[in-house]
């Protein structure tokens, strides 16, 4: 009893607290929004466990008539390819994230430092690539023939290393959280450039770095187009590319049967709806686990901003 009243007192005394009805309302709104994000995923999981027959007869349903493990069985039969693809995705994502964050931190730091002579030049240099691209064929030729990005992990990593948009976010983050005076005082105390960056600036920029890391990680994990262009070895094929191919194969059959004669007679089994959903589940799970890890920093980043404001 005593405890309860204490808890209520504590609650009402909380800084910036709103009235209980308002709080309930907000919880409902936010909870509803959360559900809207969460339900499709639950739905995907349910579809992946639905039998093909139920899908064909009743369409998608939260309560399928008949459950089935067939999709996962099929994936298990193709375990070799799925395993290769998972390894490829994990390696390119982890190595790629580390390198791209490093590049981002360094480049945007140079963009941030007002006393750096070429600051405007390098800002424009990265910004320019956001506006204009060389086109697919030119990019492809440079990457493949000049840089040798073909059938190796670098082909999956290098094309996404530099992201001007992230540079700009990171520079803005430095601008809002690292005061010039801090850098000046570090110099007065005899700190060199590297020490200033890695021991003074970086520790207070962790929330920004975490955000960029999360962005990059998702970008690497979700990338399939680059894999399609530069990877011909099935051992290196990323998971997302596998999914895209399965998806497109099913579409192809629907669109082209009857256009080119009897194509279906020559084909093997087409990936089914539930199989595709099963692959989605496999793809989403690892990246879903990465979120809570980064979330801590992102939330603390928000509070830092508020305090400083």
């Amino acid at each position: 009893m005593y405890r309860n009243t204490m808890a209520i007192k504590k609650k009402s005394a909380r800084l910036g607290a709103v009235s209980v009805p308002a709080e309930i309302l907000f919880h409902i709104i936010i909870g509803g929004f959360g559900l809207m994000c969460f339900i499709p995923f639950i739905f995907t999981i349910i579809i992946s466990f639905t039998s093909e027959k139920s899908i064909a007869v009743n369409g998608f349903s939260f309560f399928p008539e008949e459950w089935s493990l067939n999709a996962y069985k099929y994936l298990f039969e193709r375990a070799r390819q799925v395993a290769f693809s998972t390894v490829s995705s994990v390696i390119s994502t982890s190595v790629g994230t580390v390198f791209s964050v490093l590049i981002c931190v360094l480049y945007s730091y140079a963009m941030f430092r007002k006393d750096y002579k070429l600051r405007q030049f390098i800002t424009f240099f990265s910004f320019f690539t956001m506006m204009f691209g060389g086109g697919l064929t030119a990019t492809y030729m440079v990457s493949k023939n000049l840089l040798g990005l073909y059938n190796n992990y670098w082909a999956l990593i290098v094309p996404l290393l530099v992201n001007p948009f992230n540079f700009i976010i990171m520079r803005t983050f430095y601008q809002s959280s690292v005061p010039d005076a801090l850098i000046e005082s570090a110099f007065i105390d005899g700190s060199g450039e590297y020490r200033t960056l890695f021991q003074i600036v970086l520790p207070i920029s962790l929330p920004g770095i975490a955000t960029i890391a999360l962005f990059n990680m998702i970008a690497y994990w979700n990338e399939w187009f680059i894999g399609m262009l530069y990877i011909d070895k099935s051992k290196l094929m990323p998971l997302q590319l596998l999914l895209v191919k399965m998806q497109q194969e099913a579409e192809f059959v629907a669109q082209n049967s009857g256009k080119i004669g009897s194509i279906s007679a020559h084909m093997g089994p087409v990936p089914t709806e539930s199989l595709r959903m099963a692959l989605v589940v496999i793809i989403v799970i690892p990246i879903a686990f990465a979120y809570p890890f980064f979330q801590r920093y992102i939330i603390s980043g928000l509070t830092i901003g508020a305090v400083k404001g």
Partner: protein, 530 residues
Amino acid sequence: MMSKTKRVLALVLTVLMAISMLAACGEPQPSSTSTTPSTSASASPSSSADPGTTSNVPAEKVTIKWMVIGSNVTDDSDVMAAIEEYLADKINIKLEMIWGTWAAADSERLLTSLNAGDPIDIYFTCSWTPNEYSAMARRGAFVRLDDPNNNLLEKYAPGLFESLHPDLARAAVTDGAAGKGIYAIPTYKEVGQQYTWDLNMTLLKKYGFTVDDITNYYEFGPILEKVKQGEGKDFYPLNAEPFVMERMANSNDLVDAESLLAFYFDPVDPSKSEAVIKARYLTPEFEKYCKKTREYFLAGYINPAAANGQTMGPARTAAQDAAAYAIGTEVYYPGYEYQTGPKRGIEVVYKPAQAGIISTTSARGSMNGISTASKNPDRALQFLYLLNTDPKLFTMLGYGLEGVHYAKFSDDEVIRNPEAQAVYNPWLAGLGKLTQLPRIKGQAPWSVFEDFNKACKGTPILGFAFDTTPVKDQYAALVNVRKEFADALTAGAVDPDTELPKFIEKLKANGMEEVLAEANRQLEEWKAAQ
């Protein structure tokens, strides 16, 4: 100071852009001169002798890279090693396959490779993917094989074209960068296409119908009604791909990939058809079809899922597998009933809606061209020739290794190993002459296939391909209009009395008539050049 930096920067960027533009233009140039030196140089030592004989094995081993689509191959190392060994004392090449799947991404990938001039020797090409044969030949992506100055076909593939179906050879001729000629080797598969009614005879017999009762789309009404009454409300007796059904009902064929134009053929003898192209959706025949289909749809003969491009395919396949249909549509493959009957557990009969036709689309259904970027076009052609004439080589590439990927059942029948097939399953019809393969147990004998090919007849416009470039803006707009209306109309899901006039009006407003006129103008030009 600052402005100077900027100026230098601007200069550097301009140069960079100029270079990248030049690189982009470095696509295969439309000239035969770029390939002639290399071919004539390497061809001279072997040109006098017969290819494929052991007396004339080139000393230097080269790698031939071949990019295909439609295959499901994740591990080909053992097969490639066996092929290399087998070819060592024949043409001494190492084969490297780049296996694409049916995914659109893989066709795009192939086109990118072709555009960038990758060092790949052979590419799959055909009438229905982005790397469309006539367009690629026009751009100079492929080596002309019957070039009068350097006739590679005569040198390295004597008699190959003569052994093919005459219409395949006829359709392979196109107006390319190096003149009118042959730019790719067609694959010998089923040459024509025949639209057939897929009949569930088990069910039809139950209701007292015979094959002869199924005649004409416009007279299906009473049959469907009786089946529907007997089988209940949730049974859809007409299991159709609507856009195929429209062609079957009215005896017309595709002219362009996006199905805006139609070629109406004579259902009895397609070779006697009138050589004129019509706008598919503006014809009175289309209106007649829409009205009839609407009637069937309202009576509940057609699954509403057929009106949606996304759900149509799965719904049709599911109904087929469950044998839950009376009449369906099928583009026939010779001997298909041998496979589908046992699979569905019913008696399946494919009743032709018309005579089989050979159109440009079907005759160019699968080809392989030699890239102008290839350093060894002569060796690549030697390989393709061998693949089309040596059953042992083709079986190895198509089925894999005996004892690993398949087992011999009898002299000419094999059983494929499903486990090995899961990692090695090429699209056979994309590779080479199909009839060289031993039959898979249970498959129709090749004689069925040959009979089918003999029975198909070429249309008067066989060999003509519509080039959409002169009207590409209108064409793109029309494709969008078609996507908006055609699916629902052809499935009968909307009322043609209100929707069809809207559709027609919108087509006309977006230049349907101009596109039609352009197509017929090109056709006249093509006819004059024959």
